[in-house]
């Protein structure tokens, strides 16, 4: 995926019709009027960037036009088509945006109706990420989703017929007590419909969410690690058999052209600009982020101020470590030569013993100059990242 070397653009559209008990994104509910006011403010934030100016002092504003745009949230599909249109128009006015910009949109099954599909196509959406989560009713019920199993099928079918370049289905696995068979059944149901992309997320009980709360009270238990590992490996192996490449811990595509080229930028330190409450941005040696909650974010913008809450300067070591962490989460792995030339660390010679051991144990391999995690390695990517020393 070298087709999109320019910076990426992310818009955080935080509205959902109700809040799922496992969700730890910044989300809220709000009626169309509230949504309209939000879009007004978002357009104000966009305008602050007029002329391609990135909001953080010290960050090197890239000069290339943006070539990916990701509409995330939240549930961007909940917004009326004209709100999305207004937003995109504002973007085009303020920022350099490539003609072939790869636009992704997150949608929930209940919003997938022909009229909306048409409108999104009109906007130029080529990657539709559909939050089906499961095709089985009892799983959807447990997850507190608003749509039915029937809607999961129907929406995916409709989306696939609507002419997007790539349709992706989001699935969740690792529900308490979920069996291998139950999960594999979901995968089979998804594959039967023929999406080009799948995101399979292992359920996590985040602190501060209703599920997290129930877990802390002992009412809900995550799957034991061994079972989590089994499902993880099952996912990767099963999908590999079906010609889905697991190009990242949780992401699978039928071919390189169907990968999420926007997300890819997060993993290889391509600059990205995030707008909207809680959005993060990165360029060069800086990462910064907006006020998390909608109120203070709006207040700042209404006062004509930047909604950026804070920023961090990344030292070369920070950057190198991030490169390592992120690369070890991907099937492409880490290009050792480029790592050495950028960060001055010969990773393998600095970690001879560890690297040996990990290879012998079948957790990593070195493949045409790249350090690549095996599937079992991917399952413990955090452990791998901790194993290497990059301070030499």
């Amino acid at each position: 995926m070298t087709a999109n070397p320019g910076p990426g653009l992310y818009l955080h559209l935080p509205f959902c019709s109700s809040i799922c008990p496992y969700c730890d994104f910044y989300v809220l509910t709000g009626d169309p009027a509230r949504q309209r006011r939000f879009v007004d403010t978002l357009i104000a934030e966009i305008s602050l960037c007029t002329g391609g100016r990135w909001p953080v002092v010290g960050a090197e504003s890239p000069v290339e036009p943006f070539d990916t745009l990701y509409l995330g949230g939240g549930t961007p599909s909940i917004l009326a088509a004209e709100e999305l249109t207004r937003t995109l128009e504002a973007l085009h006015r303020a920022l350099p945006i490539d003609d072939d910009c790869w636009i992704s949109l997150e949608a929930n099954p209940e919003d997938v109706i022909p009229a909306n599909l048409d409108a999104w196509r009109q906007l130029g959406v080529c990657f539709l990420s559909l939050g089906v989560q499961s095709f089985q009713q009892q799983n959807l019920d447990f997850l507190g989703r608003r749509h039915t199993a029937e809607q999961s099928h129907r929406s995916l079918e409709l989306a696939l017929g609507a002419g997007f370049h790539t349709v992706s289905a989001d699935l969740i696995y690792g529900l308490p007590d979920q069996s291998r068979e139950d999960w594999q059944h979901d995968l089979e149901l998804a594959l039967a419909l023929g999406p080009q992309h799948l995101s399979c997320y292992q359920l996590t009980f985040h602190h501060g969410t209703p599920f997290g709360f129930r877990k802390e009270r002992g009412e809900l238990a995550e799957l034991p690690e061994e079972a989590q590992a089994e499902l993880f490996l099952l996912t990767h192996r099963f999908l590999a058999e079906k010609a889905f490449e697991g190009y990242e811990v949780s992401n699978f595509a039928t071919g390189p052209e169907h990968r999420s080229c926007h997300n890819q930028k997060y993993w290889d330190h391509t600059p990205y600009l995030g707008l909207g409450p809680s959005a993060h941005s990165f360029a060069g040696h800086h990462r910064w982020w907006n006020r998390r909650k909608i109120k203070p974010w709006e207040t700042r913008l209404e006062d004509g101020e930047s909604p950026v809450e804070s920023s961090e300067h990344l030292s070369p070591t920070d950057l190198a470590f991030e490169r390592l962490i992120l690369a070890l989460r991907t099937a492409d792995g880490l290009d050792l030569e480029s790592f050495r030339s950028v960060y001055g660390v010969d990773l393998l010679s600095a970690n001879l013993e560890v690297a040996d051991r990990l290879q012998v144990d079948g957790l990593i391999r070195v493949d045409s100059g790249c350090l690549v995690p095996t599937t079992r390695g991917l399952a413990i990517a955090d452990t791998l990242a901790r194993s290497f020393d990059i301070t030499e």
């Binding site: 997320y201 292992q202 690690e225 811990v249 959005a279 941005s281 144990d361 399952a379 413990i380 452990t383």
Partner: protein, 599 residues
């Protein structure tokens, strides 16, 4: 000389020795309680807290008796714990009499008996004192019976008092004056003075406390220490009346201090005899025995940066603690430290506690060991107390370990469990006899090594707190000694090696393995933890590898958090000791080395 009385108070722990001493001092010195505590006992926090007197606090009291006569009473304090029994002996040798203090509610206990035997060994006149008569549970009659039957003393000579309330204190003082004999000795004879204690003073050097048996000690004279064979010039002598009070001489019968320009307590030996260089006594006073450490442990600073501080702290402690020995030691797992020798477990505890509290050091101690005697195949004999120095077993012909004679007193109903405990601990010649109705004294010959390992706690548990324990060292006896190594991924962790009896090797090794398995975090590979004797594996556990350790999502907003979390975990790893490519956190060593119990 007829108006001098040299005496000590002997008692089981907690029977009120310190309290009674305080009362006597107050009654004679007219000192406010708070003031005198500040004066005498300020540096003794640890001892106070533990209710154990470790260093003698000897004091001279002036007492005007009911017959109108002024007496000089020298209260010679004795350490209250078996670890310091050599010091107890020195103190007893300095006295003509002793108050045997018994708790009116607890009655006679193991140490009461042991102390009495000691006092009788030194021909001391013993007056029983029944303390704590104010307690509702006090049973004076029962204690009188025990005094009669267990101790063979005259129960009607016993003085009753409450040290806490101050009742009966005059009676105690009168008993000291009238029932204890005055010292004998000739001030003109060649000098013989017994050193029974010594303290280090930053300005004056070593202050020796001594009892002049014969002759007279005067400033300006040259003295000779008969065992260490060193000579010094006396700078100052005096009495210990709360503060040091200078005197022009100490004549036969006196108890006082001597300052003679001696730099450290290591230059002298407690129990040595001071004589005059000009006209030396023909021989030293009898009973001298060197204080030898019997328990050994390596002390490591938690943070290797603290090594220098540990070295300095030990130097300082040693100024005042001649029995503490230490030498450099190092471990691949724990870095540099010191191999230390102690008089016993309590001594070890006190030193460790002081290093932590007074010097703010965090420490790791290896499992305590006794000193073994080994005969090698070439006939030579060596001693080993440090597992890392244990020779190749093929070259060892025989091993011997120190035995103690343990005396345990308890109510009759616990005989069974205590006999079982002694059997488990390889005790031999375990016998018991009834002291009084329902009370038993059990004696057993036990390997000291078995007592080091949570024996006292076990005893307290099985006797529900009613068992009391005392011991003396006996001799060395043949033993089947092995070195148990703990291996992590086949590599030995030197700091965890131990010398143990073959029968104890497997349970001990298994415990260590299990503790390690609980505390070493999982890593990306499987970790084998084994206990071994030589090449033979006798215990094993495994820590399974991580199978799943990755977060589901890592997009724009997650990256900073992820990096910081991993950095933190990595920093934690940096502090770990690496053995066999396995990172072992400090906490694992702490957990294992603290786990000094077999189940």
């Amino acid at each position: 000389m007829n108006t001098i009385r040299n005496f000590c108070i002997i008692a089981h722990i907690d029977h009120g020795k310190s309290t009674l001493a305080d009362r006597l001092i107050q009654r004679c010195g007219g000192v406010e309680e708070r003031e005198f505590r500040d004066q005498i006992l300020d540096s003794m926090d640890i001892e106070r807290e533990r209710g154990i007197t470790i260093k003698s606090n000897t004091v001279t009291l002036n007492y005007k008796a009911q017959d109108g006569q002024e007496y000089q009473l020298n209260l010679i304090d004795t350490p209250g714990h078996v670890d310091f029994s050599h010091e107890v002996r020195r103190s007893l040798m300095s006295c003509e009499g002793a108050l045997l203090l018994i708790d009116a509610a607890q009655g006679v206990e193991a140490q009461t008996l042991a102390n009495l035997y000691l006092a009788l060994e030194y021909d001391l006149e013993v007056v029983p004192v029944i303390n704590k008569i104010d307690l509702p549970s006090a049973d004076v009659e029962k204690v009188r019976e025990e005094i009669d039957e267990d101790l063979g003393l005259d129960p009607y000579e016993a003085v009753l008092c409450s040290a806490k309330l101050g009742t009966g204190i005059d009676e105690v003082l009168e008993a000291i004056v009238h029932q204890l004999p005055p010292p004998a000795g000739d001030p003109e004879a060649p000098l013989q003075a017994l050193i029974f204690d010594a303290q280090y003073d930053a300005y004056r050097g070593v202050v020796m406390l001594c009892r002049v048996k014969e002759g007279t000690l005067r400033p300006g004279e040259t003295i000779r220490l008969m065992h260490t064979e060193k000579e010094y010039e006396v700078e100052e002598v005096g009495l210990l009346q709360l503060k040091q009070v200078k005197a022009h001489q100490l004549a036969a019968g006196a108890v006082g201090y001597v300052i003679a320009g001696i730099k450290t307590v290591r230059d002298i030996a407690i129990g040595d005899t001071i004589t005059a260089a000009e006209r030396p006594a023909p021989e030293p006073l009898p009973g001298y025995k060197e204080a030898k450490p019997v328990v050994f442990s390596s002390i490591y600073p938690m943070s290797t940066d603290d090594y220098e501080d540990l070295a300095k702290a030990l130097d300082k402690l040693a100024l005042n603690d001649a029995a503490l020995t230490y030498e450099k030691d190092s471990s691949t797992a724990l870095g540099f430290g010191f191999r230390c020798g102690f008089l016993g477990l309590l001594h070890l505890d006190v030193v460790q506690e002081r290093l932590k509290r007074e010097y703010g050091l965090s420490l790791l101690l290896s499992a305590p060991s006794v000193r073994y005697e080994l005969t090698l195949e070439d006939g030579s004999e060596i001693t080993v107390d440090n597992p890392t120095l244990f020779p190749d077993p093929n070259h060892i012909d025989g091993a011997a370990e120190p035995f103690i004679k343990a005396a345990i007193m308890m109510p009759e109903r616990y005989i069974g469990v205590v006999m079982e405990l002694c059997r488990e601990r390889r005790g031999v010649n375990t016998t018991y006899n009834y002291l009084a109705v329902g009370r038993v004294e059990l004696t057993s010959e036990l390997p000291l090594a078995e007592v080091l390992f949570d024996f006292y706690d076990k005893l307290k548990t099985v006797t529900q707190g009613y068992g009391s324990f005392d011991y003396e060292l006996l001799d060395y006896r043949p033993t089947d000694l092995v070195k148990v190594d703990i291996l992590v991924n086949s590599e030995p962790v030197d700091a965890l090696a131990q010398l143990v009896h073959r029968d104890k090797a497997r349970p001990r090794a298994l415990r260590y393995c299990e503790k390690l398995a609980e505390t070493i975090p999982r890593q990306q590979f499987k970790i084998a933890i084994q206990g071994a004797i030589g090449g033979k594996i006798i215990a094993r556990t495994t820590i399974n590898a991580y199978r799943k350790d990755v977060t589901a999502k890592c997009y724009g907003g997650d990256i900073t958090r992820k990096r910081k979390l991993l950095e933190k975990q990595k920093a934690g790893k940096k502090k770990m000791k690496v053995v066999g490519a396995v990172e072992i956190p400090q906490s694992a060593f702490v957990a294992v080395l603290k786990a000094d119990t077999d189940n």
